[in-house]
Symmetry: C2
Subunit: 458 residues, 2 copies
């Protein structure tokens, strides 16, 4: 048993049936040539043949002293793999529409806390020669970066490779081979994280420290976001929409405008949100503010050890949604992100984490009934960009055609856009509260329009 750091337990404490705290992903595969109708059943049976589950996937939460409210990690020695890994099917006619409906439904149910907090669903029944895998993992267990890395380890860049073990399989010997891990940023982040825990508990004092730190900086500050239909109390049901765009289109815009690809992504979101909210007659006069998670891992660090974990800082981005001109919007987004990044370099990692805590802290108020409806939101939505694999991946000969990330929603935060890069494409996953946001799939069309507008404007 191992006590859980506050950065992990916060995702258990903050969870309710209205806002499950798991992240997920939908992967779309094309079956290899000559695959028979039982291809996926066979893949499934083969997967069940790997019962030796690695530590990360055997951890389950435990409360040694429920009265004290502290959580710990216990390890499941016997794990019911058939519970965690399941074979599902789509109803006819087996279009992507039926797949997204199933993924939305699976993403809306809570993970069982009596078991290690992950599930994987193999989905057959797509009308063409494709199949899908929906996986979910609790945010207390792993953040999106760790989850995608775990998944990637089970894939191969070689279409001829067969019999590669699934993501949960124990890879003994990898752990501990890296030296100096103790002094690494991830460790620093974890140490700082426990201070962050202290900080959020003593908010007023922490707030004073943090605002002093920020006095001379010009970044976007929390609590400046306008009220919007994205910031309402949410229900437990989800609606998910997903689409890929060629990375080349975004890179062309980025080069022409001398901004980063991530700035272009944010400008696409901004344009799409502007159009969506205008259609709903709900565009705020003030610009929407996006919370943009920033990984606190150094870019050079690619952990392959067994235990993952969370280490996320946060930035805020002015999305300039009230601005009608796409080129102007892109410029303002670029400037806002530049100031945010500057802040991250000017502050020590600990100070930056304190700032991140200041950004996140108001979300905990969302658990008080009625508060999300009555107060200004700390930000309007989270837009998260998670790096994915660069080259084409294969699962047992089946080509991976798309990866669509599915994040989590918080009360007062009815929309989340998470994207990832894969083999030259940018893959968007748009997750919304089913009750609050009508016609969510239109955002996909609007994202495309926004990209076209940017191409013409720069």
């Amino acid at each position: 048993m191992e006590l859980m750091p506050p950065t992990e337990s916060v995702f258990l404490l903050g969870e309710s049936r209205e806002h499950p705290m798991h992240v997920g992903g939908l992967q779309l595969f094309r079956k290899p040539e000559g695959a028979g109708p039982d291809y996926l059943s066979e893949v499934y049976q083969e997967m069940l043949g790997y019962p030796d589950v690695k530590r990360l996937f055997r951890r389950r939460p435990q409360r040694p002293l429920p009265a004290l409210g502290s959580w710990a990690w216990a390890e499941d020695s016997t794990l019911d793999l058939e519970y965690h890994v399941r074979l599902s099917a789509l109803p006819r006619p087996g279009r992507v529409r039926e797949l997204l409906a199933l993924a939305s439904r699976l993403h809306g149910s809570l993970l069982d806390r009596h078991r290690p907090l992950w599930e994987m669903h193999l989905v057959e029944g797509l009308s063409d020669d494709r199949f899908a895998i929906y996986s979910k993992v609790h945010h207390a267990l792993a953040d999106g970066v760790t989850a995608i890395r775990q998944l990637r380890d089970s894939l191969s860049t070689d279409p001829a490779e067969r019999g590669r073990p699934p993501m949960w399989i124990s890879a003994d010997g990898q752990q501990g081979t890296k030296s100096g891990v103790g002094a690494h940023p991830i460790t620093l982040a974890r140490t700082a994280a426990s201070m962050l825990g202290e900080f959020t508990r003593t908010a007023p004092a922490g707030l004073r420290v943090a605002t002093e730190v920020l006095r001379e900086h010009t970044a976007t500050l929390p609590m400046q976001a306008p009220k919007s239909i994205l910031n309402v109390g949410i229900g437990g049901a989800r609606r998910f929409a997903a689409q890929s765009w060629p990375g080349e289109r975004l890179r062309t815009v980025s080069k022409a405008a001398r901004v980063s690809v991530n700035d272009v992504v944010l400008a696409m979101c901004s344009g799409a949100l502007r159009q969506y909210l205008t259609e709903q007659a709900a565009l705020p006069e003030d610009p929407l503010i996006a919370m943009v998670p920033i990984s606190m891992r150094a870019p050079s660090y690619s952990a392959r050890g067994e235990v993952g974990g969370n280490s996320i800082g946060t930035g805020l981005c002015d999305l300039a949604t009230e601005e009608p001109d796409p080129a102007q919007r892109l410029r303002r987004i670029h400037e806002s992100m530049r100031r945010g990044k500057q802040l991250a370099t000017e502050l020590t990692p600990l100070q930056f984490l304190l700032f991140s805590g200041l950004v996140i802290a108001p979300l905990s108020w969302a658990m008080i009934p009625g508060v999300p409806e009555r107060t200004k939101p700390p930000f309007n939505l989270i837009i998260s960009n998670v790096p994915g694999p660069r080259s084409t991946q294969y699962l047992n000969g089946a080509r991976l055609e798309g990866i669509y990330p599915m994040s989590l929603l918080l009360d007062g935060q009815a929309l989340n856009i998470t994207l990832t890069s894969y083999a030259g494409s940018i893959e968007f996953g748009v997750l919304g509260c089913r009750r609050s946001l009508p016609s969510l799939q239109r955002i996909l069309t609007h994202l495309d329009t926004a990209l076209t507008d940017l191409e013409q404007a720069v």
Copy 2:
């Protein structure tokens, strides 16, 4: 808005992710001759064409004053029918095994409290010409009797009938046509129910009253049940097994032994549990005690009004599981049930409800962590017999082949057996906690062995 009586709100207050408080059922249909591959999609689309949902199915819980902890019913004026009614499919090879796995999974997830508390899943993909419907409804909304009645209204005894509206459709004009409803047992039960609420809040005083009432009676009293592996803390995941037996076999035993068919049912359960627990090396020395819900509706009352509701009293049955002789077990069960029924007739309905409250009350202790593991259970399991339709039923020409009820589990109560009668058959639904009870499906084999043993013994 309408305040919720305590007999209904108790199912919301007592709910957690480990023990969802909905009841469900699995119906198995055979497609009509000449049905094409899109038959079920067409049935589904046709169902969605009935958006005029009756009051019972538009009710959702609301807490007007969360701080006071009281619940009320609100009515959804706009209802997202596609959320409540869904089309699903089974993975290959599409056996009953895959169907039961899907039903278990659907039964293990919580209903969304922001919406009316029911779902219906049409399931295609059975390898033969059959399909299934899994439905779930929150126990706060309706008990099993009401749920089955609602479902029955959507079926027809005429195989040629087409276009009958689905169960949620509003049938205006039926409500209020019955006279004298105000003086009816159901109303009395509801009045008594609010007193029961008071009673469970002031347990010690109520306990004194109730034990005085019971002093001269010889029924099985609560808290006499032995500890067993059925009475442990449970997880949220479920395993479901189901099978039909010809009612004729049970009736033959019942006539030969001069006992009721329900006594034979209980004796089958007793024999099966004895064998199952012996296999697990976990048969208690003392007999298992079953809680047997008794409907408080007068048999002559068949409400067809729009608003259903709960009205259940409880009896306790000594299952005589430590007795090796099947005929002796049957005799003891018959005697125990006879005394319980006598009690129900000797007491006033209010007194009987107070006794029922006394039986149920200890279940609320189960919410205190660790208590189910350390104390004697109030009873070992619930065995519930819900009357079903007598004649063969059809849905849009598809013959109903089986109905398998899926009840709910409480903490410290890892097994539930619910059965119903249908067109001469007795249909058993065995629901267990996936984590606590291994090889649950063996209980089906043991039920059959137990019936054979009874046939030979009487």
